[in-house]
Symmetry: D3
Subunit: 238 residues, 6 copies
């Protein structure tokens, strides 16, 4: 059963914790995702995965972290960007607090799969896992995106705000997805560090979101949940 | 109209920002509130106020900060505690990001009215307001709690998880409030800094929550919205 | 007997410390206090209280911290302002050093009763008290100001540089108080964070200092010492 | 005329500042100085020099910093030790505040002449002098100690708590100096960083303080004031 | 012509800088690389590349950074590990210093291709490139390793201390490579953060170094230089 | 025998470490040294001393730190300057890593003998020595420069880039020393902190480098090695 920690009383929480549950910490973002997807796109996906995993295996879902580190979309309207150090400290403090509360098995699911963002979170996870000697698995729900794309014959360049992201949000919160979904292209800016990285996404997204369907989204969500379930059973024991 | 920023596309957000809207940043907490109230109690209250203010005056609500600094309840099951420095950095980064997005009038509503917690947020607000020369009002929705209590004849010692908090959650999310609501007492520990501050709340709360009703909660929410509306009109222009 | 630590030799200090004395750390400030009071006003008051308490109960007074965090008076001539982080680190280091020297019972008296200033000191006190498991009481000598004002019939808006502060300095160091003592008013700037907070005190002070007398000051100093003595006896043992 | 900033009202301070006065910031310490000298030994000396310079040339003396960084005496009873970073931050903040108040010519006199302590202060002085483009002279009153010792035929190994320090305190605050003044020797511990540096001063001091007289102290204080006066006239203009 | 900055006089350096040369900053590591490769393996490779690029295009090579952030090999004998924050600060300071010296076109070549290590360097490069508005290309010389492996038919699991690394050191400093070169295997530890990551490399390396030859190494070095030369001509102008 | 750690395999390193060898960490700099000496002057000297000591006594030389903190030469072409905090953190991290690798006896040799630079290193050495309870000797190879100068009748004002430094580089790397070696003078700037400290060395150096010979350099290198050997034998045991 999925349980959102925030909905519990202190007593209910304690009654669950003594049974050594799986904790899930979703880490989302508030980020521009083109003209058709909501700013919460990267939050909705890991939250939905967390819910699905809870349904399947039982889990206690900690309050989502809503902010991340952004580079390419940083200057686009609606992106809320926090610094690398702040995200690292925040993740570390929340994990430390969960551990103090009794968490021993924690899955951190990251919705925004950028390298810098994930390193900030990874440093925090590694610090807490080693210092407190608890088991933490830290994954982006996009770690298995390529595998799904290949299986479905989706263009391998499909990316930010493209078919897969759009399909997943269509499956999760269809009312937040607009019908007008123009395509976007990734522009290679070369290896020199760009002063304005947003030129990489002139249309704000990468891929052909008009091809997305809720059905594809449901298949993908299910596919990712399968992968994560497998990993949890193998690496986070019970 | 209330608009949650996270539900908007980048384009929709931009269309609103150019009209210089009121931004509201709710700052909640994840904190033990006795055997009858959910851990999200301090998050639900400022979010509900933000919604109400949005209905009345129009506002863009930024993604809620869900974590805070806790002292008395820090060791109670379910409290998620982050450090003073992390909360300060997080609030500063989020505010800076909103300002970079065009925010010029910001209301920060704080659900957890503890002095240390509020100072962390206050330092961040002051830094951003002065550096960026924008208008920020930073208030706890409890700044007017005493006034309401007096008007309603509620015991002036009513506090954490007591009549007023319970009543407000009964008005906002009744399904999260338990029927069994034992009273709790504040225990004066003296002026020496306690090694374990939780001894101040032996029952985890302070007050008589069994006296709470949804009606009182609705009156209080409305009363607070009146006060804040007044302040916004006077101090955050438009 | 009052003993200023700085006047002792290392040997004399050690001879006292082995008897587990009460330590007092006065924290003052260097701050503009209108045209009639010296910049050391907030230093003289806790030092005088420390002396009085020493006379009554015996105490070892550590070297005063002379600098604080200021907001409203920050831009007024003569205010020496240090940052929140510096004040916190300084207080923590001094307390840690006293504890390393054998202090187990410490009273921190704060002369400048501003919230941010007191939070910086409070964080340091809490950190040291818990980490080192020593007893620390941290109070502003203004925590009992309202009680005294009421008892004496002093206007409840009397504040910075007003009757009470002036009276106390008249009792402590009369030669530093000027005869010309114009009144000042607090100007409510609303809830928006002011770019220049000094507009709150257009005359630099709040109250009617011309009504102050040394007699009132002596009564107030005595009143505060009574309160603190009580607290020390109850909460700092012996 | 010597003016202690702390004794002035805001108005008096402002009236002096507009005439571009010399500011002096004394930096003392609270440190064990054997069985015959007070813990304030390193504070009394720069304060006395500041007073003397004020008498000679006019100066505004800022509130003394009473704490420093200690190595050899750190574990001796009565030494109050703050960290390198805290001392640097404190000195920088105080200097920044003086500059914001209008100081353009600042003499920093350091009573405790240890290398690490002086580097912390020196870094702060250099940062503020360059960033704010003000003139700062930062000296230990011991920079001319060897010169005086040679002129007086005092043993060149005379050091911490020895003839010269004792003589100066005899001249400044004779009532704080004990009559029993055993000699002490510096013990060379080799070049390996000692785990306990206090073994360098087994008697807590270095030198023969019994040879000290108030007369020597007065000559030395006068000699140092001469040197500093010369430097101020040449390097801090007017 | 290759010029190592450290061999130049200040004057010679200045004469080159005015012609706006390409700067190269090699970032190596001191890290265990099995029983057959030296601890400097990750330093020798970017230095050799820098030399080769200098020969081809002219370049000024800054002093190599010899330390990095290590995870898997951290506990193996000979690995010198510095923290993420230290590496970031060091890279930033060195780059800032080069820019202050006139550098406008900088190639940073990283020998140790671990994600965390590269993020620390990447954050520093991005900060300096944007703040100072200079062109910086930051690459690992392993960014093209897969491409080379495929072209040469080398096993795609070849990794740390395997065929390619061994071959390159055989080409660069053959005398430092031992003849006995046992194979090693990567052990998948699952997704849970390992308390001891070194279990991933039970033999300390990954691959079959016995298959390495100096000829392969020369081909690879040349192949990488081709790729980098292309990138420099395109993205770092001249 | 001298062994450079970077040339060893992990296995070879481990075989040496178990015998509790002397570790030497050379700390150099990249700094302008007039028109005749290379930027690596302060690196070459401690490295040569480390080599010589290794030949005499056996030692494991850790990878050199190439960057330092500079004041007077900071703005001269070719000086690479890092901040005080970065140098302190870097030295601490490298020492901690050596200790984790088994180092128990460490000599840190500093080529650039400026006070601030040496304090940064000294703070790191002291922290690690005390926390890890290992023996560390931290010396500048210039600590015995005056003694040598006196013995050789070299002008006592000989300094940066003068006879002694030039002679040593002539002995170590003659091909890097130019024949044209104009003299330079130290200009006393007074005690006020200079906005541009490079005015102290108008010719970039201090002394008469034309008088330097390789023979003097060899004598000096040998003299310094004698002093250090003595210290190591006495203070770093074996």
């Amino acid at each position: 059963m999925t349980v959102w920690m925030e909905d519990l009383t202190s007593k209910e929480f304690q009654d669950i914790v003594v049974r050594d549950p799986l904790f899930i910490l979703p880490i989302g973002a508030t980020e521009a995702h083109g003209v058709h997807l909501p700013l919460s796109t990267d939050t909705l996906q890991p939250e939905a995965l967390a819910e699905e995993l809870g349904e399947r295996m039982g889990a206690l879902i900690a309050p989502t972290i809503n902010y991340g580190v952004h580079n390419t979309t940083r200057t686009m309207p609606g992106t809320v960007d926090i610094s690398f150090d702040t995200l690292r400290a925040l993740t570390r403090d929340v994990l430390d607090s969960l551990v103090r509360n009794g968490a021993r098995r924690i899955l951190v699911i990251i919705g925004h799969a950028s390298g810098t963002h994930m390193t900030a979170i990874g440093l925090a996870c590694t610090e807490v896992a080693r210092r407190e000697r608890v088991r933490i698995v830290c994954l982006s729900d996009w770690d298995f995106g390529d595998e799904f794309a290949e299986a479905e014959g989706i263009d391998r360049h499909d990316g930010h705000g493209g078919i897969m992201e759009t399909a997943r949000i269509l499956a999760i919160r269809p009312e937040l997805v607009k019908d007008h979904r123009p395509s976007g292209e990734y522009v290679e800016l070369g290896h020199s560090i760009p002063l304005d990285a947003s030129r990489r996404f002139p249309q704000g997204i990468v891929g052909e979101p008009s091809k997305a369907t809720a059905q594809i989204g449901r298949r993908m969500n299910s596919f990712l949940a399968d992968r994560l379930e497998e990993i949890i059973r193998r690496d986070l024991g019970g």
